[in-house]
Symmetry: C2
Subunit: 567 residues, 2 copies
């Protein structure tokens, strides 16, 4: 600690001066000893000066015997996925007790490279929480991707000294890690000795060992207790994920409870959690409470959201309530089914209604849809071999089925029987690449739906039952410079602009949500199946790393065999 700062704070530690703030009459959780102390917490300059029963403060807040916990940590999430600006999501989750976010700006980097990462850093600098960044490791995600930036090791170097950059993010290219892809290993070497997040939904034993050998330190993709244990045995810290889409907590925590497994190698993450879910259930607080409900010891559960994660990421000033630690505190009414009563970040009460001073978004990040308007001819799909390759959607998961159907040859396929055309339109470099295919189990009639949010490269993805409406939808996205749109019978019904990299709105959550609900309803009224969320489903249709078949700007892709399909 800086000498001047020490001299100031230590006077309060020693009781020679009144502290800035004293939290009085708390039951303070000690994550080092698993004890609960009836004590007061003295805070100075956002740092815990001391814990005891003898402190006086310029401000004193009586918490009436409620529990004081260290601020919760989300070990892995993406801020771009909720469509609101980073600070809005962070502020809302912070009010629910999450005071530290370890984010991977993978989407932003795929669109805008370093500028996208800088945006995430800038926008969260004044947030009422600690936002750390893991350098996106797989930009582009695959060699088939047409994205906005090749984010090489050389481009990462300037970030190494940034204190908010902790390590390397979510290394999804598992074969590249295991079998020694040189460019990927350049990135691993660059971050050697630092945290390196993995992404290995399943690797057989010896490959998982090689994955660990390469320096992967965490994974958040485990869906079973057994596989989580295979990772932990190899020294990989497991983030138990419970977000809006993925629900892995029950399976893993049940195993932990049943086997009395030590919990030091586990943390919690959300990966992606939407604002309505945060408002309803909480954020990392939900992971804690759900674990306790499943039988986990409350203190172990809280440690999985605090000290375990802080240590996993080398955050020596976070995760505990002790002298010198940052005064990030969550006040709760009880230890099991708790309610978050108030949250402090650096000793300041978090007020969800306050608006921190945030740098404006640079213009270049609002102009990321780089292509000229398309004509309906762009969506012509000739059938030559009397067969059609169809992307069959499954509303319950993001995998698809590759269905081959006998069909008559034609110069331009016209969707019938509830089938749709789907197209991926390159939008970063104006290459003119457009891939067109057929999908089933979506269901739109007399119109089209389009989006600039489309993992991982975030090109424009459009689905419709006629070429004209598809062209109108894509042109609307170009005009809005990103967003969601619904086109019905030749007219734009409505558009939700997502001008920030084509990923995020700069309007507030309420406005986004209101418009979104109206557009989803319209899409369903136009025939989109009830169990299909029209935009989220669309956003995964161009993702080349998930089986079995996808549409990308280069054409239809067999993602199980990792090769383009000749139509």
């Amino acid at each position: 600690m800086d000498y001047t700062k020490f001299q100031k704070i230590s006077k309060m530690t020693l009781g020679e001066e009144k502290a800035d703030l004293v939290i009085k009459n708390g039951k303070v959780l000690d994550v080092f000893t698993n004890e609960i102390h009836k004590a007061d917490i003295a805070v100075c300059d956002g740092i815990i000066a001391g814990i005891g029963t003898y402190y006086e403060g310029k401000t004193e807040i009586d918490v009436n015997g409620h529990y004081v916990l260290p601020g919760f940590i989300d070990a892995h999430l993406h801020l771009e996925s909720t469509m609101v600006t980073p600070n809005e999501l962070v502020s809302m989750a912070a009010s629910a007790g999450t005071t530290t976010f370890i984010v991977d700006p993978h989407e932003a980097a795929n669109v805008s490279g370093a500028s996208g990462i800088d945006y995430i850093l800038d926008q969260t600098e004044a947030s009422p929480a600690n936002v750390y960044v893991m350098m996106p490791s797989c930009v582009p995600a695959t060699s088939f991707d047409d994205n906005g930036c090749d984010f090489t090791a050389a481009k990462m170097k300037p970030y190494l000294k940034n204190e908010r950059i902790l390590g390397l993010g979510e290394v999804m290219n598992d074969p590249g890690v295991v079998y020694g892809d040189k460019k990927l290993h350049e990135k691993l070497e660059l971050f050697a000795g630092r945290p390196i997040d993995g992404h290995a939904p399943f690797l057989p034993g010896s490959e998982l060992s090689a994955y660990a050998l390469a320096g992967i330190t965490t994974d958040h993709e485990c869906t079973t207790y057994e596989y989580a244990m295979e990772e932990v045995r190899r020294g990989i810290h497991v983030h138990i994920r419970e977000g809006s889409a993925a629900h892995n907590l029950e399976a893993i925590v049940k195993g932990i409870v049943k086997n009395n497994t030590p919990t030091s190698e586990f943390s919690f993450c959300t990966d992606d959690k939407h604002i309505e879910d945060i408002l309803r259930d909480g954020h990392i607080s939900y992971n804690i409470k759900k674990s306790i409900k499943l039988g986990l010891n409350p203190i172990d559960a809280i440690k999985m959201a605090t000290i375990n994660t802080a240590r996993c990421y080398g955050l020596k000033h976070l995760g505990a309530l002790s002298p010198g630690y940052q005064a990030d505190m969550v006040i709760v009414d009880r230890l099991d089914k708790f309610k978050v009563l108030s949250v402090y970040h650096k000793g300041k009460l978090i007020d969800s209604s306050s608006k921190p001073q945030i740098k404006p978004c640079p213009d270049e990040l609002k102009e990321t849809v780089h292509l000229a308007p398309v004509s309906e001819e762009a969506f012509v799909l000739p059938i030559k071999n009397k067969q059609a390759h169809i992307i069959e959607l499954d509303s319950s998961q993001i995998t698809t089925r590759h269905v081959i159907k006998a069909i008559g040859n034609t110069d331009n396929y016209q969707p019938v029987n509830g089938l749709n055309k789907v197209a991926a339109v390159e939008r970063h470099k104006g290459t003119g690449k457009i891939g067109v295919g057929i999908c089933s189990h979506y269901g739109i009639k007399n119109g089209a739906v389009a989006s600039s949010v489309s993992h991982d490269s975030h090109n424009i993805i459009v689905v419709g039952d006629n070429d004209r409406d598809m062209a109108i939808a894509v042109n609307e996205i170009i005009k809005a410079q990103g967003g969601y749109t619904v086109v019905s019978k030749g007219k734009v019904f409505d558009t939700l602009p997502l001008p920030v990299m084509g990923l995020m709105s700069d309007a507030g959550y309420e406005e986004v949500n209101k418009k979104l609900k109206r557009m989803i309803k319209k899409a369903h009224n136009m025939g989109v199946l009830d169990d299909v969320e029209p935009f989220i489903t669309l956003s995964f249709m161009a993702l080349p790393v998930i089986p079995e078949i996808r549409i990308i700007p280069r054409g239809l892709m067999n993602t199980s065999k990792f090769e383009l399909i000749k139509q």
Copy 2:
């Protein structure tokens, strides 16, 4: 991991090539899950390539179902204290299972500054163990000390990039930490964010909080469970010490067992352990076994000697048996009252008889006694105020009593009634400073004992019952350029040369021990009390940080009031 290395090792991990070494049929302790796996360990280039049941090796060693544990770590020790050369001690302790040593070359730095530290680094570079160094923080130990070097923060800077330097060693100047001594805090700032070892035998609550606030991360001076817990609550990792002199383990471990305290914040250290004790009892293995005997869970005890310590010091490649970890392994017959069967460092069997290539000791480190021969007049002690201040020794501890005795005035006090004269002779810079006083409960008659080992400044300390023999003894130490000597009736009985900084022999342990035993016997025959170890007792008589009274080159010192005594 370096790419070329990864490519080589991963082939063995994946089973594509035979490993260098496979340890077959082990019961492998997994410190992450607390499981014991029946498995084989594949090693390549000193690194664990994989753990499984399918590995083949160029060399295969069957351990017949014995347990394989990670190599043990001594969290804190001084290599200079055993008088043998650093590699000899390290090799011997390594054979007992300690494969990592976190050493504080405090004595070497007090004599020779940076050269002393370099010596420790050089001498242990080829040792069959990992030797890491903490930068000595308190050189000199106090403002009253006349030592060989003022080891400032500026002098530490060049060491910051050395991978074997982990942090700042044993900060003994507690008031300096707590009340903000600027020069000391310069050192703390220099090592901010790194491990900083404390030394706080007792600090009241708020001072201990300030100690933690200043960035102290460990302490090894706890003697009670209650005080250890006070430290752990403040985020200070506690090293439970069990060495030749200090025996703190029973008290602390009993408390841990009784209270079911989590053990993650505890490690083991020896601080100082003599070779005969290592040969008889083992090294850190003894701490583990004693803890288990006291009721600690064996796996928790082993973790206190492995992963806990590795994490405390940020040694990410040590403390566990998992892919990518260094292949430091201890094979034992059982988990409780175990016998160490064999030890591997970087995948190589440790052979205690092998002699690694070690750099010769630089000449300058063998010429550290810088003063001209003294005459017997140097020990003249006039009594002016009809009273004598007497250092009363207590054979059971290193504290002394300050006794004031009425006595007639004289130009030169002559010891009677079993009293002795004791003197501290500055030896580093030839300043000519000599402090002379009186001590009781030592007992030498018709002679003198002298030593160049005298904490913390390691000046020459001499005790005797007549000035002539004292002068002969000091001159013998000057001639030998350091060592222990016994002088009887005007003649040197024998001298154990300790030419390396006046602290260590360059002869082997057996020779040192043989000579030492003979000299100790002689001293006792000359009247030194049975329960007084003549040289060790002498070595603490100039230590100004222990109550109540000491002799230093500047004169007699009241160490309780921290002031010189006017005689």
